[in-house]
Structure formats: C-alpha cells, structure tokens
C-alpha cells in the first residue's frame, strides 16, 4: 500500500471528526450563551477549535488553519480568565463558529471558498476581543488583515506554524552536514529532576554519539556518602569530547529536553585550547574508545554507590543505575490537574463512556434487511405448519413459537443498532435559526429538549427537512418583529421551542413559538379565495388552523424559503405522511402556535393486528389500538340517520365500516357478525373500525408503497404476509379523519 492511501484515509477521518467537533463547539457556545461559563464548558469549546486547527495544520489547509488560530487564541484568553465571557463575546464566537464551519466545508471541497471579506471581518472582531483596547485590528482591506495574521503566526507566543505532513520524508536518507569537523567539549551535570522525568544520560550520550565521534569521562568526585546524599541533587558530572561537523545548534538540540534540569556547558575545544588542564574532567581517559562502553561506566558508577537498602533518595538520583526498583503497585493517585478548576456550579459527572465501535452503515442495513426476511420466512413457516394441521402442542408448533420469540428478539436488537438520538438533526437547527432570524430581522432564542430521544436512522434523516420548514415558518410567520412584540407587551426576543419525546410508541416532535398565532380571519379568507372552502362554511378554530395544510393553500404568504422560494405546508405534510407520520397545528391567538409532528419509531417494522375485511387481509398498527370488541346491535346507533356510532366505555365513537371506506365493498358490513376495533389517533380522538374478523397479532416488516408507486390515502404501507401475499397496513389516522369529515361517500370508487 502506498504511503498516500492511509494518509488520505486519515484525511477523511479528519473531516468526520470536524463534524463532531463543530457539534461540540456549537453545543458549548450555546451553553455559554445561556450562562453556563464554567471551566469545563469553556475548555471543551477551546479543545474543539484546537483540535480542528491541529488536524488542519497537518493537512496544510491554510485558510482553515489561519481562521481557527485566531478563534483559538481568543478561546485561550477566555479559558485562562484573561478575557471575559460576556454576551457580545459569545455572540461573536457563535458567528465565528459558523464561519469556521464554512471554512471546513470549503476545505473538504463541499463548498466554495469562504468569502474573504466575511472571514476577515470576523477575524477582525475576534482579534478586537482578544487584544481588548490595545490596538484592535481594524476591519480594513482584506489583504492587510491576512498579512497581519501571517505576521502573527510567525511570531506568536505559541510558536505555531502549520507544517504540512510529509510522510515520504520518513524514508528519506538522513542528510549529512558539511564536512568541516569541529571539536567540542560538553559538560553535563544532571539534576535529580532530570531523572525524575525518565531522561537518561545514557540516551543523551548516545544521541551525541550520533553527531560524531565522542569520548566520555565520568567524574564521581562530587558523589557524597550515602548518608549525605541529597534527594534532589545530582552528583555526577559527565564530560564528552565530541568531534562533529554539526553546528552548535544541533548539539544544543540534543539537550533540548533537559536543558533546565542540568548544568550544561558546550564549548568549542579549540576555544579552550589554552584552558587549564585542571578542568574537572580530563581530556580523555582510557575508558574512552570510539565506541564508549556506557555499561562499563555505569557499572563503575554503580559500584561506587552503595545501594543496599532501596533508600528513596538514592532512587531519586539514580533510578536507572540501580537494578532494583520494586514496582510496588501503589494505587495511582489522580491528582486534580491544575487546569481544571472546580466549577462554581457543579458539573454533573459524566458517566463512564460506553465502549463503541464504528460500523459501516451498509452492513447494518443489510443485516436489518436479512432479519426482516427472517421474520417473513418465520411467519410463512408458522402459517404452513398451522395449515398442515399439526397440533399446537406438538413439538414442531412449540418449537416454532420459541423460534418466533427468538426472531423477535433478534429483530429488536438489530433495530436498536440503528436507533439514533435525534440530536444529530437538532444540532443543525441553532445555526438555521440564527440565519433565519438575521434574514427576517427577528430576535429569536431557540430552546431544545429531548435531543437524546432515539429513533431509527431511517426516520432521523428524513426529519431534517420538515423540521427546517417548520422552524422557518415559526420565525418568519409565527414570531412578530421586535417592535411589534414590545408593543404587545412581550419581550423583544421571541422563543422557539423544539422538543422531541416518545409517546404511545411513536416519536413526537413539537415546534412551538410564542408569536402571534394563526390569523384565522386571514387564513379563512385565503382558503375561500382559493376555493378550498365554501364562503359560508362553518369551521372550528382547529379546522381553520389546519387549512394551511391543504394543497393549493400555500403561497409565498405561508412559508418562505430563505432564498425566497415558497414551500407549502402541504408539501411538508406530504413528506411527513410518506414517513407514516402525522402533522397538526394548534394555535392560540396572540400567544403562539405549536406544530406537532408524530412519526413511527421505525420505518422498518411494525407490530400489527391482522384483520380481514371483504376478503382482503389488512394490518392495523397495534400502537393505535385501544381495544377490540364484538358489537351488539343494541350498542350501535345512528346519528342523523346514517352516521353510525357505537357505545364504548360510556362514550359514543364513530363506527367506520372499513370494507366500505376502502372501497372493497359497496354494501355495508353486517355489524353483528363483524368485529369492532377501537382505535385512537394522534389527537386522542377515538373511532371504532369494523372488520369482518381478526386473524391475530404479528410483527410485520414494512414495505413502502412509495418506492414503486405512491402514497395511497388510508394506507400507511404494505407488508408481505406468511402466505406470500401483500397486505395493506392501515393508516388509522386517515381513516378516522375521513370518517369524521364525511360520514358517507356515495361517489366512492371501487378498487378493481
């Protein structure tokens, strides 16, 4: 494998990591915006930018590095407490994070390079905040700013300079210096501290030996008696005579790590040509050979030092020389790092991170498909066994039941793999809100909750679009301008709430705003003018509110795409419905509106009740079912002559003849011989569905109709039963809604 392949792979990893880092960055900044400026939060933000910069530097992504650097510098000031974390700062940081995201997108080729003026403007703001009153950089022509940054980069206190990776250099032959040889004398007297950091003289000497020929002498004269041995002080002095063509900088470089932990002297031997011969270390000793024997030297040193009982001070000074360091497994004390200050507000301790692995999504999808087929096969097998007349108590039947339980368990586990928190979708919303707010001139605060609510991956991805539309709508049309709000006695800043929660086996997303609510007069008027309702139609408030979902209602007056394109709420509703979901709106004039979106937890599998109606096998989702009952003639009444209702638990609910509603039959089902299943829709409204019979309960694999055909009203999806035939999965909400609107449908078209 060539060197570039793994390198390119790491680049991909880097950009994936950038996505996560941007998420962390935004989350942290939003926390800071709402007042949580504890050290942990601020540090997390710093680390995110820091990591982006580090990786970007390795790949030579200069524009990104430069921007990230300015961002990081300010964050460093804030985390060190040298600069305040006030509202203006946080808001600037938030905008900076948007620009950072754009730089990243440009760096990975997904977008055009960031507009220089925009980037430079933000750089100027960040620098102004960083440097306070001392010479804030003005937002002058772009070139100046970038030049200023480059100068900074060269001289900044971090000494940071982007260095693009060059793995090929690893294999490059080591350059040899100019051939001019020079003699040097190096005197090294390590302090105890040097050893404490696991630096080894031996290694230093070896390093020197790489530069040229060396002769080493060891002076033990300073070594005191054991009793007088001071813990922190070193007492060995090494002298090295080095002949090398390397420059002095290279020699000094060898001691780079230990410079301050030792007494070091590097002089040219020629400078000392006339130096006194009483220098502590003699020129050369018999021990010195072109390849000096450290082991012998150390052994000699060791011999001089009596190391009987492992005395702690000795250990501190000569850890490498003594062979006996008893690695007593003392519990490692994790001292509180000085960097992390105790937060004023207790930050909840993070639960130990769960072990995770990364899996190709394809593999998971394939697994889920195969498991789905397994479920179908198992059902078919069960059917055939039943048909074959085997007793239910027979070994085969019992075995099959066990098999069904196992299959269900496998399916649950597999589905859980694909379950994802909606957080990934929620995370894109704050930026969207900022952009829409800016474009519409409204002041908005987004409050989210339930980010950890989990739902199948297939659903999560499809949530983004409708959520985006509804948020735009809430800000653009729901919220009033700051002036209007103030005039109405509200705070200038509007609040939009985005919440996700589980409810009766589905996931519910609520988007609410504290705006003006739906202008019912206007909506009514528009609906009439578009011929959607009769002029004299009598509608409840709820019904008026829901008019906005009607096809043909939408104009630029309902939802405006930020680029000016109109997107109708009916399109939004249709996309939700194609997921098997529901959307409804509740509005309170002057107070605000709430959109409620409900979706199945997964698009793949459903627990259903299998029923028959007019020789057609249908499936009703179990989550919608309240109870099933056998209707008695005396329980059934007719309102207004033809709308059937049935008594259920002290209330009357509409009775829907499913066979007729679906067009399978033109003659009514005989209620007395049928079965009524009471269902409840999203709004909590109940109805009773009349079927011919109930076949049983089963978990079915959902097959979408939209793949090859299109959405059909009253039908949520399809499934393949044990007999290999396709059965339709009922859209309970649509059925009940239809029935409530129109009791009878004489123009019903028979399905052929």
């Amino acid at each position: 494998m060539s060197e570039t392949d793994p390198f390119e792979a790491i680049k991909v990893v880097f950009f994936q990591e950038c996505d996560e880092l941007l998420g962390d960055l935004e989350a942290g900044l939003l926390a800071m915006e709402s007042g949580r400026t504890d050290s942990e939060t601020v540090n997390a933000v710093f680390r995110a930018v820091h990591s982006v910069k580090g990786g970007a530097g390795a790949f030579g992504l200069d524009a990104l590095v430069r921007f990230a650097h300015v961002f990081e510098t300010l964050m460093d000031e804030i985390r060190a407490g040298r600069k305040p974390c006030d509202d203006l700062t946080v808001k600037t940081l938030l905008r900076a994070s948007d620009v950072l995201a754009d730089h990243i997108a440009a760096a990975r080729g997904q977008a055009d390079p960031v507009d220089e003026a925009r980037s430079a403007a933000l750089v100027a703001e960040l620098e102004a905040l960083t440097h306070g009153d001392e010479g804030a950089v003005l937002s002058e022509p772009v070139a100046d700013d970038i030049a200023a940054i480059e100068i900074d980069l060269g001289a900044d206190e971090f000494g940071f300079k982007p260095v693009a990776f060059n793995f090929a250099a690893l294999d490059a032959p080591v350059e040899t210096a100019e051939p001019e040889l020079q003699a040097w004398r190096i005197t090294l007297r390590p302090h105890g501290r040097m050893y404490a950091n696991a630096n080894e003289t031996g290694l230093l000497l070896r390093e020197l030996a790489r530069l040229g020929e060396t002769a080493v002498a060891l002076d033990l004269s300073a070594l005191p008696d054991l009793n007088a041995l001071a813990a922190e002080e070193g007492c060995l002095t090494w002298t090295v005579e080095l002949t090398t063509a390397a420059p002095e900088a290279d020699i000094r470089d060898v001691f780079d790590f230990v410079e301050t932990d030792c007494d070091l002297e590097i002089v040219r031997a020629s400078d000392e040509a006339s130096a006194s011969e009483d220098a502590a270390a003699p020129e050369s000793e018999p021990e010195s050979e072109p390849e000096f024997d450290i082991a012998a030297l150390l052994a000699r040193a060791q011999a001089e030092v009596v190391a009987e009982a492992p005395v702690a001070p000795v250990e501190a000074v000569l850890p490498q020389l003594t062979a006996e360091i008893a690695p007593a497994p003392a519990p490692v004390e994790v001292s509180t790092p000085p960097a992390v200050q105790a937060a004023a507000a207790p930050v909840p301790a993070k639960a130990p991170a769960a072990v995770t692995i990364r899996v190709d999504l394809d593999r998971v999808d394939r697994l889920i498909n195969v498991v789905g087929e397994l479920v179908i096969q198992q059902a078919m097998l069960a059917q055939r066994v039943t048909e074959s007349g085997l007793a239910r108590s027979s070994g085969v039947s019992v075995g099959l039941e066990d098999l069904e339980l196992l299959t269900r368990e496998i399916q649950d586990s597999v589905m859980a793999i694909r379950a994802q928190p909606v957080k990934s979708v929620f995370q894109r919303m704050p930026r969207l809100v900022r952009e829409v707010a800016e474009m519409t001139g409204k002041k908005v605060r987004l409050v989210t909750s339930g980010e950890d609510t989990e739902v199948d991956k297939t659903v999560v991805e499809r949530l983004a679009e409708p959520m985006t539309h509804m948020l735009r709508n809430a800000i653009d049309h729901g919220l009033e301008t700051p002036e209007e709000r103030l005039a109405a006695g509200k705070a200038a800043e509007g609040v939009v709430r985005l919440a996700a929660l589980h409810r009766s086996g589905r996931i519910v997303i609520e988007i609410s705003d504290d705006g003006a609510g739906i202008n019912r007069e206007r909506v009514r008027g528009i609906a009439i003018s578009r011929g959607l309702i009769a002029e004299d139609a009598v509608l409840t408030d709820d019904e008026i509110d829901n008019l906005i979902f009607l096809p043909g209602f939408s104009t630029a007056e309902t939802v405006t795409d930020v680029s000016g394109r109109g997107v109708g709420m009916d399109v939004v509703r249709r996309s939700i419905q194609s997921l098997g979901g529901r959307i409804s709106i509740a509005s309170n004039p002057g107070k605000g509106s709430t959109f409620t979106l409900s979706l199945p937890l997964t698009l793949a599998v459903l627990d259903g009740m299998v029923v028959t109606a007019a020789e057609q096998t249908l499936v009703a989702p179990l989550t919608a079912i309240v109870e099933s009952l056998t209707p008695r003639a005396e329980d059934i009444h007719h309102v207004g002559g033809h709308d059937a209702v049935i008594r259920f638990r002290d209330a009357f609910v509409p009775l829907i003849d499913v066979a007729m509603a679906m067009g399978f039959r033109t003659t009514p089902t005989v209620s007395a011989t049928g079965v009524a299943v009471v269902v409840e829709n999203e709004a909590g409204q109940r109805a009773a569905l009349l079927f011919d019979a109930i076949q049983g309960q089963r978990q079915v694999v959902i097959k979408s109709l939209e793949t090859n055909y299109q959405q059909v009203e009253g039908v949520a999806a399809a499934t393949i039963l044990g007999d290999g035939r396709v059965a339709l999965i009922l859209d309970v909400d649509a059925l009940t809604a239809n029935a409530r609107r129109q009791a009878s449908r004489p123009e019903l078209k028979l399905a052929s």
């Binding site: 390198f7 940071f160 696991a198 932990d261 690695p327």
Partner: protein
C-alpha cells in the same frame, strides 16, 4: 524486542496519524482517548513510551503525567507531550509535570521518530 508506545489524544485524526507514523517505524502502538483512559490503559497493558496530547477532556496531559509519575513503577517510562505551545514557559510546565520531552504539533513524522528515539533506549 518491539517497543510499545501508548498514544493519548482525544482527536481521532491525531491518533490515526501517530499510529501511521509510529507503526511505520516499527513500533507497536496502543491508544487512549484522554488522561483517565491513558492511566487505565497504562496500568492494564503497560507501555515502554508514552506520547500524550495536552488538551483533553476528563483529565488533561499534565494531569495524566502527574498521575502516572505518582506511581514509582512508571518513573522510568519516557513521556513525550504533543503541544502546539513551544515557548519556554509551557515547556517548563511540561517538565514540571514530569514530561521527558515534547513534540510540536503539527508534527513532522521524521521529527516524531527522532524524538521517540531520543528518549527511548
């Protein structure tokens, strides 16, 4: 005998790059994602050399080194810190914590290997 290097960094990109450079030079590489993970991994698996980042969640590089050095058994394990901060004060800070040496980020793979060789026998 192949030496084992423990690399500690919260950035997956960095971990991958270190792995690529170090394993290419013949070292066996084990990884940890922050200071706490680093201490646990070190005590569970042991290592001949440690390379650690500074800025990490839960426990940063300095905290890791201090924690590591607190155990006498770890005194002789060289630790290199990865840092973008190469001024003298920061270096001293690293030394004070117990670092053997440092590598400046973003690192040149050649320099990385040199630094490793410099501190490890």
């Amino acid at each position: 005998m192949t030496k084992t290097i423990l690399t500690i960094d919260d950035s997956r990109t960095m971990r991958d790059m270190l792995m690529l450079a170090l394993s290419g030079a013949g070292y066996r590489v084990i990884q940890a994602v922050d200071g706490v993970d680093g201490l646990e991994t070190l005590s569970a698996e042991g290592a001949d050399i440690v390379i650690t980042d500074i800025n990490m969640p839960r426990l940063d590089g300095f905290g890791f080194i201090e924690g590591m050095r607190a155990d006498p058994a770890n005194r002789s394990i060289p630790v290199l810190v990865l840092t973008t901060e190469s001024d003298a004060a920061k270096k001293q800070r690293a030394r004070d914590a117990g670092a053997t040496g440092w590598i400046v980020k973003p690192f040149d793979p050649v320099k990385l290997i040199e630094a490793v060789r410099r501190v490890a026998a």
